[in-house]
């Protein structure tokens, strides 16, 4: 069971949260100028790293806010959480 520190609500248990994908993920645009390859990169291709990764999470059964989380996919250690747009501590971005 992970204890995740929501930047708005503080530490809560894992079942309150939803994983929302790795970061950075920037939607290409404008849509009429985006080729199939760029759409495939955005929609499907992922780094899926073994090690620390920056992710977007949703406090689904809490404040319903999205936030950023830095987590190891090997040990599940959570290094940091931050509000969207907030900068992460040095060396974690």
């Amino acid at each position: 069971m992970l204890h995740i520190s929501c930047p708005w609500c503080g530490p809560r248990d894992e079942p309150e949260f939803r994983w929302g994908g790795e970061l950075p993920l920037v939607r290409p645009g404008p849509p009429e100028r985006v080729c199939d390859e760029a759409w495939a990169e955005y929609l499907f291709m992922r780094d899926n790293p073994k090690g620390f990764v920056r992710e977007r999470w949703l406090h689904a059964l809490g404040c319903r806010q999205w936030f950023v989380l830095v987590r190891s996919t090997i040990t599940h250690e959570i290094r940091a959480t931050a509000k969207l747009g907030e900068s992460l501590p040095e060396g974690l971005a």
Binding site: M1, L2, E14, P15, F17, R18, W19, E22, D36, E37, W39, A40, E41, L43, F44, M45, R46, D47, N48, P49, K50, V53, E55, R71, T73, I74, T75, H76
Partner: protein
């Protein structure tokens, strides 16, 4: 060495101390025709069919740990071919047909038990989905029957079919040819058969990087030195993205832990495999008497080969809704494998974007049932350079063209 009653008797006299090793453990040679990375079921089957079907015997299988120690040793051993789309039906039924003849083919008892699989529906909408799915199976030439509650009771008498149950049992699709097989025996049998044909199986050898000549991959750098080959084939499931990153490209894969667990052994209580569309739980009873069960994927990507508790609890809760009488059984073991999930829940059997590299990945939660078929079509691609007719459509390019084979809903479980 072949297994026979005579060999068994002879070895019984010597207290079973003189059985030969099933495969050699050779030092890696500097050059092979094909290197297969990944000594799980898919990698070993690929090497076997390269040697047997295509006469390519100068092959090495490179394994980071031990044979069958990844997902091949961590699944729930279910084999079936009840898929929705024609492409999937061709591929998974090829695999099931190969499973049906495998013990004889490789001279190793894989303990295939075609005991049937029941996929349950709990409401009218799921019944309609089941009927649609069954029609697709029939159009694809796959066996299947729709059962009503009274027939289901005969197949699984312990199932909670009370009309007041939280998940009342309205009906089920039965595939009689589906069942279970002994997972370790599949890996060991393929390894032994491939070794007998001259394939070098090299364990405890991790791939550190790829050797390049121009824009082409010509071999691998490993913890046991450099090994060259004009064709390098990846069959590494949940670690596909890690090796792809070393080769300089990305894949449409996310790696998750998928858990399974077994209870203490009990007398025969369940003769078939039962899968529930609503709860995501599935269960069968092993020959030892343990109930082998599993559920949904863990909630976030992971390379840790252990599961988290909330998912385990959800799977157990789903199981107990179906079989309340299992509530007093104690869990013996729990584990997880790292599965390579793609967005349409169908595999990728294709050339990689880098020359000289080939991909067999994306099987997600259903790789075990596909071992013989996956190995067969991957060997065909490696040997001939063309996709096998049963593997057409399972390309990497479908994520760009949009020609998905979306088994997400049709595959029977929620992922």
């Amino acid at each position: 060495m072949r297994f026979s009653a005579l060999a068994l008797a002879r070895n019984a006299v010597s207290f079973h101390r003189r059985w030969p090793q099933f495969w050699r453990s050779p030092e890696p040679r500097p050059h092979y025709d094909v290197i297969v990375v990944g000594g799980g079921g898919h990698g070993l089957a690929t090497a076997y069919y390269l040697a047997k079907e295509h006469g390519i015997r100068n092959v090495a299988v490179i394994e980071k740990g031990w044979l069958g120690g990844g997902n091949t040793g961590r699944n729930t051993t279910v084999v079936r071919s009840n898929y929705f789309y024609p492409e999937s039906a061709r591929l998974y039924d090829l695999s099931l047909r190969l499973y049906e003849g495998l013990s004889r083919d490789i001279g190793f008892n894989i303990m295939l038990s075609q005991r049937g699989i029941l996929t349950l529906a709990h409401n009218t909408h799921q019944m309609e989905m089941l009927a649609r799915w069954l029609n697709a199976m029939h159009l694809n030439g796959i066996d299947g029957e729709l059962l009503g509650p009274s027939e289901i009771r005969k197949w699984a008498p312990l199932l909670n079919d009370s009309p007041t149950a939280r998940y009342p049992v309205k009906g089920a699709v039965l595939q009689r040819r589906a069942g279970v097989a002994r997972h370790d025996a599949v890996a060991w049998g393929y390894a032994r058969a491939a070794d007998a044909l001259g394939v070098d199986i090299i364990q405890n050898c991790e791939v550190l990087g790829f050797l390049r000549e121009g824009d082409r991959i010509v071999g691998i750098e490993t913890t046991r030195g450099r090994i060259c080959a004009p064709k390098v084939a990846l069959a590494v499931a949940g670690h596909s993205s890690v090796l792809a990153a070393k080769a300089g490209f990305r894949l449409p894969i996310t790696s998750y832990a998928l858990q399974a667990f077994v209870t203490e052994p009990v007398k025969p209580a369940l003769s078939c495999v039962v899968m529930s569309m609503a709860t995501g739980a599935y269960v069968s009873q092993s020959d030892k008497g343990e109930l082998v069960t599993g559920g949904a994927l863990d909630l976030y990507p992971s390379y840790a080969q252990r599961g988290n508790l909330p998912t385990l609890q959800a799977a157990v809760a789903g199981l107990l809704e179906l079989f309340p009488c299992f509530s007093r059984l104690r869990m013996l073991r729990q584990w997880a494998g790292i599965v390579d999930v793609v967005h349409d829940s169908s595999p990728i059997i294709d050339r990689a974007p880098v020359k000289g590299l080939y991909l067999n990945c994306g099987w997600g939660t259903g790789g075990f049932k596909a071992i013989p078929g996956g190995g067969f079509v991957f060997a065909h691609l490696l040997a001939t350079g063309r996709p096998h007719p049963a593997a057409e459509g399972f390309t990497l390019g479908r994520f760009t063209s949009g020609a998905m084979i979306d088994e997400g809903a049709a595959a029977g479980i929620s992922h």
